[in-house]
């Protein structure tokens, strides 16, 4: 083990642990501002530090401060206090750990040694995720039960029933994928999706397994307790469901666990069906070989994109009412300058690659890995946006509709998918 080994292990573990946590803020921000824009309002945009609102991200800090300093109440009627406190921890922990098997870049080869780019180097892959997703519901059930509250227990029961109903179609949808990819290892799946179908279509799961994708995404929505399947919370009928008795940081842990689960299931969906970390049309090998042209292309595109982005900021980061010396205009100026500074730094890094990276050399490998990480995060963010998008479009299902959809529609479709997939695979081989 060289020091490089240790460094990379530390890096990948840190990535798997902290990126989901950072994305909590991104999720919350996207959810709120997204909700605002979907509903023709602006969302949180007032919390500021020295007048800098960071597009509403500062609101997250304010909320965090609030939740941390709030009184942490455990009602007197709660008998099983240990379980009551444990429940949010289970939810959060299960969500966080399930990200450990998701690869965020292809295996990095440096100096003849290959370094796997996922939190925990196990081959369980999708099975690990399925197991932990099922485990998270224990947290919800225990929370509902230990709350000694009728709303809590109803929320917990709904959640349990929902998970049982949707784990099955989800697992069956995964079987179709497994048949196609022939592996449970998520990295191998992502590598498989780097190929091109007929030479011009990325061989993504979405192309090979469209039905499986729909079933899996629907089931993933249900697993993460997101609208339209958030019956476990059901504000209108069971006030807040399983976390009705939770306050302050205990509630915040539930809240964060939910968003980590959101991030993880987005990552899994991306890995299974949208090519994972693969840059479209550029498989890992191609990327390493053509590091220079890609860097050059980025070198050209980045300022152009920044130019338009700066224009957008200037247009939108203003006060839409008469105001003297609009501080938001100043704010926008600062943002634009800061971003241009960032662009210049990236440009310099790209220039360095352009001039010094040899094709197939370590710099090209690192460049490819970084590009893949970025691609992966962009894809995950887009998938997260889909979650938000669906939430603010669809109303919540009724309980019987939920069960009917799970058992009478998704389950037969998943079985049909397995049958057809197997038949096609057998015929083609």
């Amino acid at each position: 083990m060289t020091s490089l080994d240790y460094l990379l292990i530390a890096l990948r573990v840190a990535f798997a642990a902290f990126v989901p946590l950072c994305f909590i803020a991104v999720c919350v921000w996207m959810e709120r501002r997204g909700a605002g824009f979907f509903q023709d309002r602006s969302g949180p945009n007032r919390a500021a530090i020295f007048g800098f609102r960071a597009a509403g991200l500062v609101q997250n800090l304010a909320d965090a401060a609030k939740l941390i300093f709030k009184e942490d109440v455990i009602s007197g009627h709660i008998k099983h206090k240990f379980i009551f406190v444990l429940a949010p921890v289970i939810v959060f922990f299960a969500a966080l750990v399930s990200f450990a098997v998701v690869p965020f870049a292809d295996t990095l080869v440096l100096g003849g040694r290959s370094y796997i780019m996922q939190g925990v180097p196990v081959d369980l892959g999708i099975l690990w995720f399925l197991a932990l997703a099922g485990f998270a519901v224990y947290g919800i059930i225990l929370a509902g039960w230990s709350s000694t509250n009728k709303y809590g227990i109803l929320g917990g029961l709904r959640s349990a029933a929902q998970v049982i109903s949707y784990e099955i179609p989800m697992a069956l949808a995964v079987i179709g994928v497994l048949i196609v990819y022939g592996t449970v290892n998520l990295n191998e799946m992502a590598q498989f999706q780097g190929q091109l179908l007929f030479g011009f279509i990325p061989m993504w799961g979405a192309v090979l397994q469209p039905l499986g994708m729909v079933i899996f995404i629907v089931a993933a929505f249900a697993e993460t307790n997101r609208t339209p399947f958030d019956l476990a919370e059901g504000e209108s009928e069971i006030v807040a469901g399983f976390h009705v008795e939770y306050s302050a940081m205990k509630f915040a842990v539930f809240f964060m666990g939910e968003y980590v689960a959101l991030f993880v299931s987005s990552a899994i969906i991306v890995t299974l069906f949208f090519g994972g970390y693969q840059v479209p049309f550029l498989a890992t090998a191609t990327l390493i070989d053509n590091a220079r042209p890609v860097a050059f292309l980025l070198l050209l595109l980045l300022p152009v994109a920044m130019y338009f982005f700066a224009g957008w900021i200037r247009r939108n980061n203003v006060s839409h009412y008469p105001r003297e010396n609009d501080p938001r205009a100043f704010e926008a100026k600062v943002y634009i300058r800061g971003l241009w500074g960032l662009v210049v730094v990236i440009e310099l890094a790209l220039l360095a690659i352009l001039f010094f990276a040899s094709p197939g050399g370590p710099a090209a490998h690192i460049f490819a890995a970084l590009l893949q990480v970025c691609t992966f995060l962009v894809k995950v963010t887009l998938m997260l946006f889909v979650y938000v998008w669906v939430r603010w479009t669809l109303p919540r299902f009724r309980y019987d509709q939920l069960q009917k959809l799970g058992w009478q529609i998704l389950l037969p479709l998943a079985l049909l998918n397995i049958f057809v997939t197997s038949a096609v695979v057998v015929i083609l081989s």
């Binding site: 824009f37 979907f38 509903q39 023709d40 006060s319 839409h320 009412y321 998008w389 669906v390 479009t393």
Partner: protein
Amino acid sequence: MSARVKTIARRGASLQERLYLIEICKGMATSFGHFFRNLLDNSRLAVRHYPEVPPEIPVRWRGRHRLTNHPDGTMKCVACFMCQTNCPAHCITIEAGERLDGRAEKMPRRFQIDLLECIYCGYCVEACPLDAIRMDTGIYSVNGTRRDAFLLDLTALQAGQGAFPEDDYQKGGA
């Protein structure tokens, strides 16, 4: 007034609608249209930029209470307790006492409105036989850091000023 009947076609019977996924996509397209339009240009958001841009308060709007005065500055209220009797939230507390300014026999010694209990229904204004209590101050935001700050006493109520011209108020009613 006869009720107007509007027949709304029941949806969801056709195959396309029952497939559900297509309808979901349509709905998502609609909501994304809103999102994208607002993302490109957030000046078109249907919002009021409160608190910088205050809301326009119509005359009939029920704001914080005040006790009105006669032109000579004496209080109109005679402590008849009609507002307290009619208050569904029991937020008004009056203590009556002898009145010595010759206007009437009786006046409130203490007149307290607990704004934390008030539901701003305006029944007190309706009930007042002397137009002594009004909710026309146009004050829509009452805040404080202590409970006492929400207890309006006689002086605070009397100090309140109407936010509208008298004619408009009389026309608009309350």
